[in-house]
Structures are given as C-alpha cells and as structure tokens.
Amino acid sequence: MDASALAYLAAGIGAGLAAIGAGIGIGRIGGSAVEGAARQPEAVGQIRQLFILGAALIEGVALFGIVVALLLTLLK
C-alpha cells in the first residue's frame, strides 16, 4: 500500500469517526430537548434555541474532522 492509498483510508475512517461523534452528540442533545419540551411545552422556543446552538457547536467539531479528512484525500 502506497502513501496515497493510506491517506484515502485514513480519510474514510476519520470522516466516519467524526460523523459517529457528531451523531452521538447531536442525538443526546436532541433526546434531551424532546424530553424537556414534553415536560415543559411552554419552553419550546428557548429549548429550540439551545438545541440549535449546541448542535452547531458539535457540528463544528465534526467539521474539523471532515476538513482534515478532505485534506487527506487531496494529498497526492
């Protein structure tokens, strides 16, 4: 296996791991947000804002992983 093949492999695994991490994180937030909204329907607006904010921050971390993966695929 040459270096670029290893880079593609690393990119694939890295992108997958980043997606798993983001999935767990956003899933936890989403679950908690729904629970919170079910208990206190009047706070839905605030909960939604917190959910989007948290999801955006987690997504940012995942995107760092994706960017690194992309850079690896562009490696020649």
Partner: protein, 373 residues
C-alpha cells in the same frame, strides 16, 4: 439533520472519487470539486460560459483584460501552472511559447466554446516578473458583490421608510416591508436581545443584521440556477468570521481579558496552562465559525452534484441504466435541494447567534467575590 449532511458529504465524495477514477477510461469525467470551487468565469452551461475580467498589477503597471482569452492573447501572461513547471526564463520560454500555441490550437479545434480557457487559474508573467496583486473578478466575487448590491438595494430604501415614520409610528405598510420586518424583528428579539442583554444589544444589532442578511443572500444566490455560493468559499467565510473576532476583542471588558490571561478562582499553578488553552480558544472560535459556514454550504452543493452525477456514472456503464437511475437521482436531488433552502437560512442564523454569543461572552462582567470556588 446536519449529521446526515456530514455523512452524505463524506460518503458521496469518496464514492465519486472512486467512480471518477474508474470511469476515466471511457471518457465520462465528473469533476465535482470544479463545480463548487472558485473560477474565473460564470457558468451558463447550456448557453455558454462568460469569462470574467482579469485585472493584474505588476511592475509594469495595471493590466486590465476583458477576459482570460484576451489576457492570454496579449502574450505577456501565461497560466501560473506553466510558469511553475519551469519554462527556461533565460531562453525566452520556448516551452511556454509552444504550449501557448497548442493551447489556442486546441481551443479552436474544440469549437467556439473555449473549454480549456475556463480551466485556467491564476496567471503569471511569462518573463518571470512578479505579479504583485491579482484583482481579477471570480465567480464567487461576482456573487458576493451581487449579494452586497441586493443588500444595499433592499435595505437603504427600507431604512428611509422607517426614518420617515412608516413602520415606527404606524404599522409597516405593504408585504415587502412586512416581509423584511419579520426577519429584522426575529434577529433583534430572538438573537440580539436575549444574548447581549437590554443595555448592549442596540450597539451590536447593525453588525448582526448585516452579517445575517449578507450570509443569507449569498447562500440563497448559490441555489439560483447558474449561481455560485460565495459563502462556499473559505476566504469569504474567514473574512466574515474575522469581523466577529475583531468586534469580540474590541468589545472585551477587563474581566474578559483577565479570564483569558490570569483566570481568577483557579490555583496559581494551573493558571499558565489555562492561559494557553484560553488563548488558543480565542482563535478556534472564529475559525470554527468560518469552517462551519464554508463546509455546510460546500457540502450541500457537492451532494447535489454527486447525486445528479450518478446518472452519468451509470449512463457511462450502459445508457439504459442511466435512464433507470435518472428519476431516483432527480427525486433525491429535489429533496436535498429543499434541505439546502432550510440550511441556507439555518446557517445564516447560526452564524449570527454564535457571533452574538461570542460578543456577549466578551461583554460579561463577572463578580469575583462569588467565584472563589
């Protein structure tokens, strides 16, 4: 949903890279990245391509060419890649000369549509002189300016109406003013006020509104046929994020800086470590802001191109297969396109709310008596 998009991006990009490599032999080439990256032309593909002006500043002065073709015909400039490949600069660049001749020969043979010219990136001097500044228009630049023009064209007349009292002393008049007031009030009451607080929000509201609408317009212009997404360019998002960065630092109170450089309420031995962490955090926040917007906007477009590209990949295997895949491809593309509309709004909102949160963090006054835990 965003998680799904991330998955889509990674899966489809890799799929496409693999497919592109295998389909190279039978002539079907799909260059996905070419559709989302910046270029020196506007793509109206069935109708043709419009080359954009080239403006170069070098030791001889300012050169303005109406198009890339004109710049290359002029003879003093060659594509930067050729210059890097190293035509002997002393020998008058014979290799570059022959390459240039072949270049125009090919483009003429290919018909009136000069396919090759549009693939030319940066230009360099043939004689090896440096190009100080390349102010050439690119398609992202064009659509960024278009978004800015729309912003001015919509909001200056609106501001004049409010100044005249319509909407302030009376109810806003007409669907046009009502439409924009919905957005403006949303940013003011849902983003600026709860995050920045009653006494500060007025000061930062103009920036937040400008950032929101500029990003929104850039995002939506990318979804218009023949459009390009200026926010799908890392430099555009980096400049936007650096505005937030600068405003955050300027807004910073004494407490903000103290918490970065000498965290109170923490054992002294730990403080240098925290200083390093906090100092890095200063830059990762706007960096994440830039990457998030860029990656989200690029990812959606890559997904659309990839899914549509499946038709041509399968069509390359056998025409019947291509026709069979087409309806599914178009249906899924429509779905992704709808998602893109949502994401265009959502990302503009997220950029704005995170900017507000970062600025609010710098404005915060801490009470250190309570913080000695």
């Amino acid at each position: 949903m965003m998680h799904l998009r991330t998955l889509l991006l990674s899966a489809l990009l890799l799929w496409d890279l693999a497919a592109g490599a295998s389909s190279g032999s039978d002539g079907v080439q799909l260059d996905v990245l070419h559709h989302v990256t910046n270029a020196y032309y506007l793509d109206f593909t069935p109708l043709g391509k419009l080359e954009l002006p080239r403006i170069l500043i070098d030791p001889e002065g300012v050169h303005v060419f109406p198009s890339t073709t004109a710049a290359l015909r002029d003879g003093r400039f060659i594509p930067a890649e050729w210059a890097e490949e190293g035509a002997p600069s002393g020998g008058g660049g014979e290799e570059a000369e022959s390459a240039r001749a072949g270049f125009f020969g090919e483009s003429r043979a290919g018909g009136p549509e000069t396919v090759e010219v549009t693939h030319v990136g940066k230009l360099a001097r043939r004689d090896g002189l440096p190009v100080y500044l390349d102010l050439s228009l690119t398609r992202h630049g064009v659509f960024m300016l278009l978004a800015a023009a729309l912003l001015l064209g919509i909001f200056l007349p609106l501001a004049a109406r409010y100044r005249a009292g319509i909407g302030r002393e009376s109810a806003p008049r007409g669907p046009w003013q009502n439409l924009w007031e919905t957005f403006i009030v949303f940013i003011r009451d849902e983003v600026a006020r709860p995050n920045l607080g009653e006494e500060h929000y007025r000061r930062y509201l103009p920036y937040l509104l400008t950032a929101f609408f500029f990003i929104l317009f850039c995002n939506l212009l990318g979804l218009v046929p023949f459009g390009a997404t200026a926010t799908g360019n890392i430099t555009v998002t980096a400049v936007l994020a650096s505005f937030t960065f600068i405003i955050t630092q300027v807004a910073g109170t004494r407490d903000y800086w103290r918490h970065i450089f000498w965290m109170p309420g923490v054992p002294v031995a730990l403080r240098p470590i925290l200083t390093v962490v906090e100092f890095i955090g200063l830059f990762t926040k706007p960096f994440a802001l830039a990457i998030r917007l860029f990656a989200n906007m690029t990812a959606g477009h890559v997904a659309i191109v990839c899914i549509l590209g499946l038709i041509f990949i399968f069509g390359g295997m056998s025409p019947a297969l291509g026709y069979a895949v087409a309806p599914f491809s178009v249906a899924v593309t429509l779905g992704v396109y709808g998602l893109e509309l949502l994401v265009a709004l959502l990302q503009a909102y997220i950029f704005t709310i995170l900017s507000a949160v970062f600025i609010a963090g710098a404005l915060e006054e801490h009470h250190h008596e309570e913080e000695t835990h």
